[in-house]
Symmetry: C2
Amino acid sequence: MRTAHLLALAFALAAPLAQGLTPVEKPRSSAEILEASAPGDWRRIDDENLMLLTLPKGQVLIELAPRFAPQHVANVKALVRERYFDGLAVMRVQDNYVAQWGDADAKKPIRSARKTLPAEFFRKLDDTLAFTPLGDVDSYGPEAGFSMGLPAVRDVARAEAWLAHCYAMVGAGRDTAHDSGGGPELYVVIGHAPRHLDRNVTLLGRVVQGIEQLSTLPRGTGALGFYEKPSQRVAIRRVRIAADLPVAQRPRLEALRTDTATWTAFVDARRHRREEWFIEPTGHIELCNVPLPVRIPKQ
Amino acid sequence: MRTAHLLALAFALAAPLAQGLTPVEKPRSSAEILEASAPGDWRRIDDENLMLLTLPKGQVLIELAPRFAPQHVANVKALVRERYFDGLAVMRVQDNYVAQWGDADAKKPIRSARKTLPAEFFRKLDDTLAFTPLGDVDSYGPEAGFSMGLPAVRDVARAEAWLAHCYAMVGAGRDTAHDSGGGPELYVVIGHAPRHLDRNVTLLGRVVQGIEQLSTLPRGTGALGFYEKPSQRVAIRRVRIAADLPVAQRPRLEALRTDTATWTAFVDARRHRREEWFIEPTGHIELCNVPLPVRIPKQ
């Protein structure tokens, strides 16, 4: 366990101080670690993978995950580019679960994109997939960690990896058949991680900014949180891919890389919570409790 | 692990069917288990422990937890009974974290109740405390389970038990000192369980109905989700204890008992998700993914 290792390391570092020798640096908080980060610890979110969902009160930015769901990401982009989502609506908001949008009336034709796709519930685990293990026990998977900014699980025995249903993750709704999803209907997790959905639905991205536009929506009072009246639905003004916007209008967002020493230090600070307020630092952290720092870089 | 045991049992039950002998009952869904429950599987929520928080758009019902935080519960009730909360406000709503209410201006005098109390972060584990183990691995505690309807952790080695920071749990905000809380400022979890707060803050109850009145509030844009302007705060009309209301006005709420065979079957159905939609049933469940069924009994 990495936790045990790091604890041992912390004790080793503390020893000289206890013996009154050289002073030892105080463990840094996660905020201090981010402040001290280098430019190379951050990556610009690719304009080709940044989706902008405009709702009446503001914008939601979603980073797509082509390394985990290449076909779904390509199809969602095709749907966006044929303006499929414009004028559709959020029609389901279930408290502590999901907000979902699409064509509530199943009337809008899909032109060039696909209506459904084969499932991409997991992918092959191979050397091309970056994976930074979390090191802490996970209730749902053999080994939790992070892959290109996303919470993920890998199973070396099965040689598979998959994304985890943490808060803000975006997936493709489906009916009972495993290949009945594809992207025309999307949902985002707005509550405690429903990890039982892992490997059961295709996750294809994550909200990186503006999730409050979805998480504060009125909860639907119908079954499963669907709005009972069409008038309650929340209109989608437009959905765009950042790369299709004039350069000046593209959001300039950077996310912390998850394959760096800064990331490891950041997660460790969240794991141990050495801030004065914490009376009993935990020493553990659960996958979905690790946030992805996102920032707008200085011009 | 109980999971492994139950899987073995499921296989044993399936055997006669595979051999064409007697038909075997189909595993029931959690909804079917609740439908088939007996009246004794439910408990009436005690009017003395049911707190009603009235906000502009509706009511939030909170069940207090005197077995875990007796002094805090007594003090919150004293605060309610001196009308301390009436006219105060929700002043902090941080996305995927907490909503918090109290006296944002620190001006309202406290008369008979206490302003602060010694911490009740955990309690002694003894024979008087009901505890139904979950049986699944927990990221944060040695043994997760349920005690009188509440998500909890017990540690036999330390002879201690404590409540877990799951969605909808209510706690007493505090400053840096461990004994700086007490009840005048309360918060509720409205996001992914911040379990690192376990054993660091006194939890004293849980929202059992109406959490959407808090979870849909606009997020504060100040540090830690505080509202930046007093005008953004959400007024608390009144807070009452159900026992103080005329009998006809008391909510008649029942919660599923967590020390029954029905509860164990309910949790197991949520753990395995045998419904047709699930392509890969999980076989695990995490403490905070087990909801507490609550109903209004038939008259």
